[in-house]
C-alpha cells in the first residue's frame, strides 16, 4: 500500500470512485483526497484499512457534531419545511409529528401547500392517522394565512409544536421564492421570533443540484437544518458534505422510508459508514 512516493495511488483512485459514486461533489473529493494523501504521509499509514479510517475521520470532521432540533422555551415551537418538488416534505412532517408524539409532545400540522392537487388531502390523511389537528384553508388560499392561523391555533389550544408544510418549488422560480419569504415573515410576525427551525428537505437521490438547492434556499431564508430523505434508497446523499462544510447547515433528520416511524436523528458516524460502504 505505502510506496516511496506516499499512499498507493490505486487505493486513492478506488476511494475517489467510492466517494463520487456516493454523489460527493467532485471538488470536495479532490480536497478530501489531497488532505488524505498528506495525512497518510505524515502519519506513515501503511495499511489500506488505516487509510480508510483516516478518510472516515476527515469526513466526520466535515460533518461536525450532531445538532438536535431546537425547542423553544415559549411554545409553540414552530418548524417550517421547505424544498423543491417531490423531496418528501409532507411525509417528513408526518414522521416528525410521530416522533414528537413518541416523546409525549403534541403537534399541530399546517397545510401550507395550497397549490398542488390533493396536497391538503394528503396531509389530512396523515393528521387523521396520527390523531393530530390540521389547520387548513381552501385550495388556492394564501399559504401565509394558513401558517399564521396554525400558530394562533396552537397557542389557543396549548399545542407545543406547529409543523408547517409548504408547496414544493424550484429555487429558480423567483416568484415562488418570494412567496416562501413571505410565509417566513408572516410566521415570524405571528410567533414574535423567527420559526424555530427552517428545515430544507433534500432528496438523497439527488446529485449535485442538492448543493444549488441549498445555496438558493439559504439565500432566501435563514435555514437552520436539513432533512435528508430517501436514505433507504441505494443513493447515499454525499452532496450534503459540501452543504455542511460550505454553507454550515447541519443535517438534523434523515428519512428511511415511507412510513411514519421511518425517520431518525442524523448520525454522522452511520452516515460516513454508508458513504464508504
Amino acid at each position: 500500500v505505502f510506496t516511496r512516493r506516499g499512499v498507493d495511488e490505486e487505493l486513492l483512485e478506488e476511494l475517489e470512485e467510492t466517494l463520487i459514486a456516493a454523489d460527493v461533489n467532485v471538488n470536495a473529493v479532490q480536497e478530501l483526497l489531497e488532505t488524505l494523501r498528506q495525512e497518510a504521509k505524515a502519519q506513515r499509514l501503511r495499511e489500506a484499512e488505516d487509510v480508510r479510517a483516516c478518510l472516515s475521520a476527515l469526513l466526520k470532521g466535515w460533518l461536525g457534531a450532531p445538532a438536535p432540533l431546537t425547542v423553544s422555551a415559549t411554545p409553540p415551537t414552530v418548524y417550517l419545511f421547505v424544498g423543491v418538488n417531490g423531496v418528501g416534505k409532507t411525509t417528513s412532517i408526518a414522521k416528525t409529528a410521530h416522533m414528537l408524539q413518541r416523546q409525549g409532545k403534541r403537534a399541530l400540522l399546517a397545510a401550507g401547500d395550497t397549490f398542488r392537487a390533493a396536497a391538503i388531502d394528503q396531509l389530512q390523511i396523515w393528521a387523521d392517522r396520527l390523531g393530530c389537528d390540521l389547520v387548513k384553508h381552501k385550495e388556492g388560499a394564501d399559504p401565509s394565512a394558513v401558517v399564521f392561523d396554525a400558530i394562533q391555533a396552537a397557542r389557543a389550544r396549548g399545542v407545543d409544536f406547529v409543523l408547517a408544510d409548504t408547496a414544493g418549488r424550484q429555487h429558480t422560480h423567483a416568484r415562488l421564492m418570494e412567496e416562501l419569504k413571505k410565509v417566513h415573515r408572516v410566521a415570524e410576525k405571528a410567533l414574535g421570533r423567527p420559526p424555530d427551525e427552517v428545515l430544507l428537505v433534500l432528496d438523497a437521490v439527488a446529485g449535485q443540484n442538492a448543493i444549488r438547492q441549498a445555496e438558493e434556499f439559504a439565500r432566501a431564508l435563514p435555514l437552520t437544518g436539513i432533512v435528508l430523505t430517501k436514505l433507504d434508497s441505494t443513493s447515499r446523499g454525499g452532496a450534503v458534505l459540501t452543504i455542511r462544510k460550505q454553507l454550515g447547515i447541519p443535517i438534523k433528520l434523515i428519512g428511511l422510508g415511507e412510513k411514519a416511524d421511518q425517520m431518525a436523528p442524523f448520525d454522522p458516524d452511520a452516515f460516513v459508514e454508508g458513504l464508504l460502504a
Partner: protein
C-alpha cells in the same frame, strides 16, 4: 466553466505545435470533471472519455485557431449522438387502446406526468383514460382525479374497479377502456425503490396484465449517480420503451439523462418542464447536451 478551463490549457501550450501526453490528460480531465459535476454517472463518463480521446486531441483541434471551442464541439456532438436523435413519435397501437404505463422512484413526477400525457394525447385527437394504480400513497388517487378533471380526462379508480390492489385495478381498467371506447390508457403506479423486491415484483405483474405499448421510466432531472442502477433495474424487470425526464425547469444539469440513455438505450420520449399539465415538451438532444456541458 469548461470553456475557460480549456482556454487556459491551450493558452499555455500555444506555439508548441503539438500536444504532449500531459496536456492531453489535462484536457480530458477537465471534460471529466464537467460531466461529473453535471451528474453523469462516473462509469458512463469513463466510457465517454475513452470514446472522444482520439478526436479531442487530434489534428483538427491542433490546427484550429480556437482549439478549446473545437474540443467543446467534439464533446457536444458526441453527447448529442449518444442522447439519440430527436424524439421518435409515439406509435399508436393497431388495436386500441394504446397502453402507457409510468413507473419510477418516489416523487419523480409520475402522477403529474400521467396528466400531462393525457392532455397531450387529447391534443393529438385521442380519447384517453387515466388509471389510478397507486393505492399506497395517501391521496394519490385523489391527486390523479383532480388532475384528470383539470385536463378533462376520465380517471378510472380502484373504487370503480371494485379492487383492492393495483394489478386488479389495471386489468379492470383495460376492460373498461375497451368497453368505453377510450383508445389511450395512461396508468399511474406507486413510486418504489428498484431494490424493493415485493414492489418490483408487483410492477412486473402489472406489466404482464397490461401488456403496455409504452413502459416509461420517469426520472427526476436532479437524479445523481444512482440513475444507472435505478434505470438498469427497472429495465431488466420490465423492458422499458422510453424515458421521461421531469423537473427540467429547475437548474439541474441533467447528466442522469445520459446515464439512463447509456444503460437503457431507449429514447427520451418527453421532458417535463413545470408543474402545470401543459408543461411537457419533446426531447431536444442538442439542448440537453448543452445543458449537461454547462
Amino acid at each position: 466553466s469548461l470553456t475557460d478551463k480549456l482556454q487556459g490549457i491551450f493558452e499555455r501550450i500555444r506555439g508548441k505545435g503539438r500536444l504532449d501526453e500531459k496536456t492531453v490528460d489535462e484536457v480530458l480531465r477537465e471534460i471529466r470533471l464537467a460531466l461529473l459535476e453535471a451528474d453523469v454517472n462516473f462509469r458512463v463518463v469513463k466510457e465517454f472519455i475513452a470514446r472522444i480521446r482520439e478526436q479531442a486531441v487530434g489534428e483538427e483541434v491542433l490546427k484550429s485557431l480556437t482549439p478549446d471551442q473545437q474540443v467543446i464541439r467534439i464533446v457536444r456532438d458526441e453527447l448529442i449522438a449518444l442522447l439519440g436523435g430527436e424524439a421518435e413519435p409515439i406509435r399508436w397501437a393497431a388495436r386500441p387502446p394504446t397502453v402507457f404505463m409510468l413507473c419510477g422512484l418516489q416523487g419523480s413526477g409520475k402522477t403529474t406526468t400521467c396528466a400531462k400525457l393525457a392532455r397531450w394525447a387529447k391534443s393529438q385527437g385521442r380519447n384517453p383514460m387515466l388509471v389510478a394504480c397507486d393505492l399506497q400513497r395517501p391521496a394519490a388517487v385523489k391527486q390523479l382525479e383532480v388532475l384528470g378533471q383539470q385536463v378533462g380526462v376520465p380517471v378510472f379508480t380502484p373504487q370503480q374497479a371494485g379492487a383492492q390492489d393495483p394489478v386488479r385495478t389495471a386489468q379492470r381498467a383495460l376492460e373498461h377502456a375497451r368497453a368505453q371506447g377510450n383508445d389511450v390508457l395512461i396508468v399511474d403506479t406507486a413510486g418504489r425503490l428498484q431494490v424493493d423486491e415485493p414492489l418490483m415484483e408487483e410492477l412486473q405483474r402489472m406489466h404482464a396484465a397490461l401488456q403496455p405499448h409504452e413502459t416509461l421510466l420517469v426520472v427526476d432531472a436532479t437524479t445523481g449517480q444512482e440513475a444507472v442502477n435505478v434505470a438498469q433495474a427497472f429495465h431488466e424487470r420490465l423492458e422499458l420503451t422510453g424515458v421521461i425526464m421531469s423537473k427540467m425547469d429547475g437548474d439541474a444539469r441533467g447528466g442522469a439523462t445520459l446515464s439512463v440513455k447509456a444503460v437503457v438505450g431507449k429514447p427520451v420520449r418527453f421532458v417535463g418542464v413545470g408543474e402545470r399539465t401543459d408543461a411537457l415538451e419533446p426531447f431536444y438532444p442538442d439542448r440537453v447536451a448543452s445543458r449537461i456541458l454547462g
